[in-house]
Amino acid sequence: MIAVQRSLLLKTAAALLLAFAVQIAVAMNPARATTIERIVSPGGIEAWLVRDSAVPLVSMEFAFHGGASQDPADKPGVATMMAALLDEGAGDLDSATFADRLERKAIELRIRAGRDTIRGALRTLSDNRGEAFELLRLALNAPRFDAEPVERIRAQMMAGLRRATTSPEDIASRRWWETAFPGHAYGRPVNGSLDSVPTITADDLRTYHKRILARGTLKIGIVGDIDAEAAKTMLDQVFGGLPAKAKLNNVVTMAPQGLGQRISETLAVPQAVVLFGGSGIPREDPDFMAAYVVNHILGGGSFSSRLYREVRETRGLAYSVYNSLVWLDHAALFMGATATRADRVDESIAIISAEIHRMAEEGPTEDELKNAKAYLTSSYALGLDTSTKIATQLVQIQLDDLGIGYIDRRAGLIDAVTLADTRRVAKRLFGGGMLVSTVGPAATSVPAPSAAGTLLAPPAAQPPASGNTVR
């Protein structure tokens, strides 16, 4: 039943160079070959382009390194607030005019901060792309940070933060991160705090904007009804005015702390939330793909994972249970979650711990490995069936520094994972213990007996990683 992914065969046509296009043939469909082109503008800005004129639209994604991990230590939330304000007035256009111009041409522009990146997505009808690029140029180069939108966005952030104070998911997540990364940028909340957000000034936003939005760390993916020449002109127009280099503060690489602990908070809700996680495998580590396969078998994205079967299918303990790998620029993690009745929290944690322990000790079976490989290989195409999804993937591959041929190589990398690899890597990935954060009714704050002792052992420090959450 191994389905070879026929669709995304990439062939490297020419070896690199000079401004112009390493062309990669993507046989998206035997009937219609598409290509990923690496284009470089006259001003030296690189982007990956998939031209597709079947639907009259252009979708572009871009990312700058930075994100919330570059917030001032005493002011978490600056990156999030800045990202939210880029389309709230720029150049000669105040907030109202800017919003009006976007909507009039049905242009969609979204910019947000993650832990390690500021990411943007632009979508426009082909007919309106001139206006779309001009508005994006203004947003990135000349944001105004006028008082009215600054105060409005601040009020919205505060409302969200207040809501988060009684949301079990949000509390569990905040406490997990601050316990796992004390004193580190990742321990600070991406959306800021009730203390920090009131102190953020327009100057903080301007300073952050000047430091972080630079060509040097910029990654771009473009998909749709635009040719290479027009795209290159656009690149210089939109991004050419940004500074060459970002001024990034040093962020140290850190392994998550508190492994073996369980932290609990009481909240009067009918259902408790359980968040768990530990050290992962860095994206550039040779064992990463094996870890990816192992994680899929334990708690990945199908209705057949071990956690799904044991927690949901067999015992009906939860509606949702999963585990995923998270790779950040300065930490590698695995993280999972579930939500269950207060009186079944300990049982759920015990089952999850036991499954993680069993995976670390025994690894997957031959059959599980075969099925996981087939799934991970074939399902990739499902993530590439819209322009926006393809553009997102083009940016992610660049952020992860995997090379323009990655889509071609990926199936081979998965197929090369052996049963021995998965057993060795399962131990490395899941042998180190985890930090569990629970929020729920009082019953859940009783310390849990650990079924197999997997909560107990702290792991060795991990080398650095990069990237993003993927299931």
Partner: protein
């Protein structure tokens, strides 16, 4: 395995919710608005094939040859509004149980097969329909069709699998509703909006009725509604209709018509002379809010042009940063942190038009509600401008083009439309109908449907401990 609110094509969320990183804006309501306003239609669009098999199964094929994947969906014309009173939650519970296997593909064979092929699957329940889908590389489509056709009539259930699944559903109810004050208020507003029609029941069901659902209930419901003549097959993606038709005939064509399904004649609403108001207090509320729903026509029951006028009216009132509610209350007067409006029109019997807002510190809910009313009254009295109407039309119609980039979205639009009494032609012609709406029609819709007597207003309040003397 999830559910949708009243007949409204919400995006099909992944079954797993939440994640390690909380997102900032994430007001569920806003997401609903973004998706809901345009919905249901396509201008030029792909070349759609639509026909009915001798056994009564309706078929829609939507080619999108750009990527070698397909979205395969079966929609049943049965939802929460078709449940017997006292058995709320049954349609959704049965949806979960359809993953428990058949004689030919026992237990989790179907799900395991989807997983091993690199596919994704899920299901959803709404007031008017229940749907199942897989997304797979196109070479596996035929196998999906065989398996989905098989579970149309051959489901095998046992007490052993039904029991734990009921607990899963109860945990789902906890996650979606019990743990979420805004969702609890939404249930109360829905229940009050309908004096007589079953749309007033929560799709997931009332908790004490879910708890009492049995194996026998589920099987009886299955045998009342699951038959090819009560279903719609939607296939979108890298397919050729000519090549597909014989395969459809060889799979779904072999499923025998089980029984005739009675017309969906639900008890309808009487005249509604009394505006309803309610409030819900919860200690977890940190941000009070006001939310109102009006009972209005759905795209199926509206007179020609009315539903499109409601699409435009709700967008002009509260769809995004340029809307009247947001500009007036959030930007210009600074009284609220959020404000907006939406129209849920994809439904068999009734639609609803909603308005909402969350006050800033220093603004009371009463004050905010009065300001919302003033914005509504202004549109009723003076209508909308030609300029804002044009902007709203261009924005809504563009979604029909954007949808062509997303095969699953196209499949959902057509499936939801056909399951709620619209036709393929209705969907295709939607942009044209939106174009034709003039300012007078939008004002007429405001006058006719922003009628407080046919509405429920809900306040979400922070529960504070009673003061001791």
């Amino acid at each position: 395995m999830q559910l949708l609110r009243t007949g409204f094509p919400l995006p099909l969320h992944r079954r797993r919710r939440g994640g390690p990183v909380a997102s900032l804006v994430a007001l569920a309501m806003l997401a609903m608005v973004a998706f809901g306003t345009a919905g249901r239609a396509l201008a030029a669009g792909p070349d759609i094939t639509h026909y009915t098999l001798p056994n009564g199964l309706e078929v829609v094929i939507i080619p999108d040859r750009r990527a070698p994947v397909v979205t395969h969906m079966v929609w049943y014309r049965v939802g929460a509004a078709d449940e017997t009173p006292g058995k709320s939650g049954l349609a959704h519970f049965l949806e979960h149980l359809l993953f428990k296997g058949t004689t030919k593909f026992p237990d989790a064979t179907f799900s395991n097969t989807v997983a091993s092929l690199g596919g994704r699957e899920n299901a959803f329940t709404a007031a008017d329909y229940t749907g199942y889908f897989q997304r797979v590389p196109r070479e596996h489509l035929k196998l999906m069709m065989e398996m989905e056709a098989d579970r149309m009539t051959n489901l095998v259930l046992s007490e052993a699998v039904v029991k734990p699944e009921l607990n899963v559903v109860l945990e789902e109810q906890n996650s979606r509703v019990a743990n979420n004050p805004a969702a609890r208020l939404g249930e109360q507003i829905g229940a009050a909006l309908y004096l007589n029609h079953p749309y007033g029941r929560p799709i997931i069901g009332w908790r004490q009725e879910i708890e009492a659902l049995t194996f026998t209930d589920a099987l009886a419901f299955y045998k009342r509604f699951y038959t090819p003549n009560n279903a719609i097959l939607v296939i979108a993606g890298d397919v050729d209709a000519g090549e597909l038709k014989p395969i459809i005939a060889a799979t779904y064509g072999n499923v025998a018509r089980q029984f005739e399904v009675a017309p969906r004649a639900r008890p309808m609403e009487p005249d509604q002379p009394s505006p309803r108001r309610l409030s819900l207090s919860d200690p977890r509320v940190t941000q009070p809010s006001v939310s109102r729903q009006y009972l209005v026509p759905s795209s199926t029951t509206a007179k020609p042009g009315e539903s499109e006028a409601l699409d435009l009216l709700s967008h002009i009132l509260g769809g995004g940063a340029n809307s009247r509610l947001y500009r007036t209350l959030v930007v210009n007067k600074g009284l609220a942190t959020s404000a907006g409006a939406y129209y849920q029109g994809t439904a068999l019997d009734y639609g609803s038009l909603g308005v909402y807002g969350a006050p800033k510190d220093g603004t009371s809910l009463e004050q905010l509600e009065a300001e919302i009313d003033a914005v509504l009254a202004e549109v009723v009295a003076n209508g909308v401008t030609a300029d804002e109407l044009q902007r709203a039309k261009d924005r809504l119609i563009a979604d029909a083009v954007y949808a062509q980039d997303d095969q699953s979205m196209l499949a959902r639009w057509y499936g939801a439309a056909l399951a709620t009494g619209s036709t393929v032609e209705d969907v295709k012609a939607w942009p044209e109908r939106v174009r034709k709406v003039d300012a007078a029609a939008v004002q007429a819709a405001a006058k006719a449907f922003l009628d407080i007597r046919r509405s429920v207003t809900g306040h979400l309040l922070k529960e504070t401990p009673e003061k001791q003397p």
